[in-house]
Amino acid sequence: MNANTAITEPLQSAAADLLSEGKVAVVIGYGANGDSSLAHPEFVRKPEDAERLVFDERCFGNLAVYLSKDSIRQMGKIGIVVKGCDLRAINVLLREHVVKREDIVLIGVPCAGLGDPPLQKCSVCEQRNPEGCDILAGDPVEQPQVDAELRYKDAADLDAKSLEERWEYWRGQLSKCIRCYACRNVCPLCYCKRCITEKTIPQWIESSAHLRGNVAWNVARAFHLTGRCVNCGECERACPMDIPLGAINQKMAQLMNEWFDFQSGLSSEEKAPFTTFNADDPETGIL
């Protein structure tokens, strides 16, 4: 697999310039070994190492997850390579005051879709060219019109089933969970220093990998991300048991869109739905 030179070359030179001018202490981007099907995170601290950076359709990871890590932040100012979907996660981190805009340099990369065939999230992506970055590596790509109906298709397909069918489905899926917490660790927005699942007094979530504990964990995970999740799909990609976590996130995102006309991460100025209210919010089914 060949790296996309139209983006990789300007990306490498932008990173080298930032490092040699001392504008950033580290550039977080992607590297790839040969024809590996998956790019890995690459931390570049010297200008001459910038040639290790690549960008192509195997750069799946959402690097925004590193922005909340103390071990990375203490390096100094961070340059970070962002696709449109990653930028949405960074917008949430900015809105939640986890990172300050002046502490990061955003190196945007245009992205026409990841994987072959392209991921579902890429087929409904409306941020192929990340906006508001400090540097844009490469020329913008064409942004096709997206059918809003398809945005929440996985959730809608499950919603079409009966309650009992859905329970059978999720019972089977959540039974597979081994509680490795890859979904949490890979999520740029699961940045709590101490996660609720690790709290023991009281223990809200049973830590054994049995169905009852798995339901509690997955409910908590989904709910803590409601109105925040940007549907980058990393949780589902990281899940070693192939649990379709993206569908749950999609469902909650669809609700936020339907009830509050809200899509998370489109700007760093927005207010998260659960931090505010309107007197005339939906009130169906309240006795």
């Binding site: 069918e165 009830w259 006795l287």
Partner: protein, 154 residues
């Protein structure tokens, strides 16, 4: 304790377990008024008093089901009447979203009720508890939850 609750019941008859999270300022006072006014209501309901309906975390509801609740009720002040001005507005957004999440996962949403009961609505509290108790009796034990595996690897 109301007279109805003290009526001898058939010990073989299944009694539902209802957990109710009530805000201190409206719904708890409403339940108190129901008692003081001698409005009878079923004793299947176990009340947990909280400062505000906005205090309710969905994990309270999940934990109640894990501990054997057949129905969970969250009740707070009517919109606009919150003692803390907006706790119930926040609760409304979160709890309705939580109910949708339950529904999406296939967990019966009829097992989770939300209500607004003011301090003056003792009669509403009494009829509400009668109504939801009758409903959960008709639904039967919450087997979706009680049958969840808690051993092995799920």
């Amino acid at each position: 304790m109301s007279q109805e609750a003290n009526k001898p019941t058939d010990p073989s008859e299944w009694q539902p377990r209802i957990v109710a999270f009530l805000c201190n300022w409206c719904s708890y006072a409403g339940a108190d008024l129901a008692g003081m006014s001698r409005f009878a209501y079923p004793a299947a309901i176990k009340i947990v008093r909280l400062p505000c309906s906005g205090r309710v975390d969905p994990m309270f509801i999940i934990k109640s089901f894990e501990q054997g609740a057949d129905l969970v009720l969250v009740s707070g002040c009517h919109p606009g009447d919150c003692h803390y001005t907006s706790g119930n507005y926040h609760a409304r957004r979160k709890l309705l979203a939580f109910r949708e999440l339950m529904t999406f996962l296939g967990i019966d949403p009829r097992r989770f009720k939300i209500s607004w009961v003011s301090a003056a609505e003792g009669a509403k509290w009494s009829s509400l508890v009668k109504e939801i108790t009758a409903e959960v009796k008709a639904l039967g034990p919450f087997e979706t939850y009680s049958e969840l595996q808690t051993g092995g690897t799920g």
